[in-house]
């Protein structure tokens, strides 16, 4: 017999659980320190289990199922809207950076805008309406993006 192991351990444990310790096993237990401990501990823990058994009140399985489904859907929604959130954050960061640049160097920013507008208009000098139309479309796109971003952020 090992110091911390007895060959009859499992049999003794099974017999205690089944409440069927026969005379042979009882005799073994009387002479084996390991098995005495097993019997003592197994009986004590079984007593502990039985004492708390009557106090156990379980939550409803349906409620847990519903809770888990709700959580799963929330997680799926968060996964699905992650790209939108990412684009929103990137857009917000770009606007903030542009704002900082505009505020720190107002003259340069103004020049850049004038150059951009002139270039856009001159590029379509043959037909000034195209230039104006492109500008209006650009402004409309920016406006839509801002409104869309605000809507997404609000929701």
């Amino acid at each position: 017999m090992n110091k911390n192991y007895c060959g009859e351990e499992q049999r003794v444990f099974d017999a205690v659980h089944a409440n069927a310790l026969d005379s042979t096993l009882k005799e073994h237990v009387a002479h084996c320190v390991i098995c005495t401990e097993i019997v003592l501990v197994a009986q004590y823990l079984d007593e502990q289990r039985r004492s708390q058994e009557s106090e156990i009140v379980l939550p409803d399985a349906g409620l847990l199922w519903w809770k888990a489904q709700l959580r799963y859907r929330d997680a799926a929604l968060a996964r699905a809207t992650r790209p939108i959130a990412l684009v929103t954050k990137a857009g917000s960061a770009a606007i903030v950076l542009a704002g900082i640049w505009f505020a720190s160097t107002p003259s340069a920013a103004r020049e850049w805008i004038i150059d951009f507008v002139q270039a856009a208009v001159l590029q379509h000098a043959t037909n000034p309406y195209w230039g104006m139309l492109a500008l209006a479309a650009g402004a409309g796109t920016v406006l839509c993006a801002v409104i869309g971003s605000l809507f997404v952020l609000r929701n």
Partner: protein, 198 residues
């Protein structure tokens, strides 16, 4: 018993192959079979009924949100559930330790490694302690886990290793030590009772 079933309304076969979450009927059967023992385990190891209730619900929710391997049987799924619950319990204790360190009321002598069961019962005079607290509550959390899983749940060493995250090879020795300690406490208590009632 087949525990795992694809999520109802799964769109395609390829999705079904990777989406092995329990369906409602399978969950109800599994819950019926395991919830009582899981609550008993959490309650007895933590010593806190409300905490055990919370962790039980969280453990099942987490189990339902993971894609289980299609080959997983009932015992393996139960073992996995106990692992989730054990991790939740450890997370709770970790948070408790952290708040203990930051709390201005933390006493310098308290041992942050050992989550106490029934802290109020630790304070009374030593002679009253044995009456108020069971021998089981005097063990370390890990010892309580090991003994409960082995002696109440009847788990094998491999299953205990899966549930606790310990190495399977070390379970026998740890269990031996925990059992010896509890047996010692029980014998001690028996002797004291005999002294009081000759």
């Amino acid at each position: 018993m087949e525990l795992i079933a694809p999520v109802p309304g799964a769109a395609s076969e390829s999705e079904e192959a990777t989406n092995n979450r329990m369906d409602e009927d399978a969950f109800r059967i599994f819950y019926e079979k395991t919830s009582r023992s899981l609550l008993g385990y959490l309650w007895r190891v933590s010593g806190d009924r409300d905490l055990a209730d919370d962790l039980l619900q969280e453990a099942y929710c987490r189990l339902l949100s993971v894609d289980l391997a299609a080959t997983m049987g009932e015992r393996e799924t139960k073992s996995y559930l106990f692992r989730i619950a054990t991790n939740l319990l450890h997370d709770h204790w970790r948070r408790q330790r952290r708040s203990l360190f930051t709390s201005i009321f933390a006493s310098a002598g308290s041992d942050p490694q050992e989550p106490a069961i029934d802290q109020a019962a630790r304070d009374p005079a030593p002679e009253a302690q044995t009456d108020l607290r069971s021998a089981f509550d005097q063990l370390k959390a890990r010892e309580r886990q090991l003994l409960w899983l082995a002696y109440v749940e009847g788990s094998s060493h491999k299953e205990i290793a899966n549930s606790t995250g310990l190495r399977a090879g070390s379970i026998r020795l740890l269990l031996f030590r925990a059992r010896k300690k509890l047996a010692g406490l029980l014998q001690d208590r028996g002797n004291r009772i005999r002294k009081v009632k000759p």
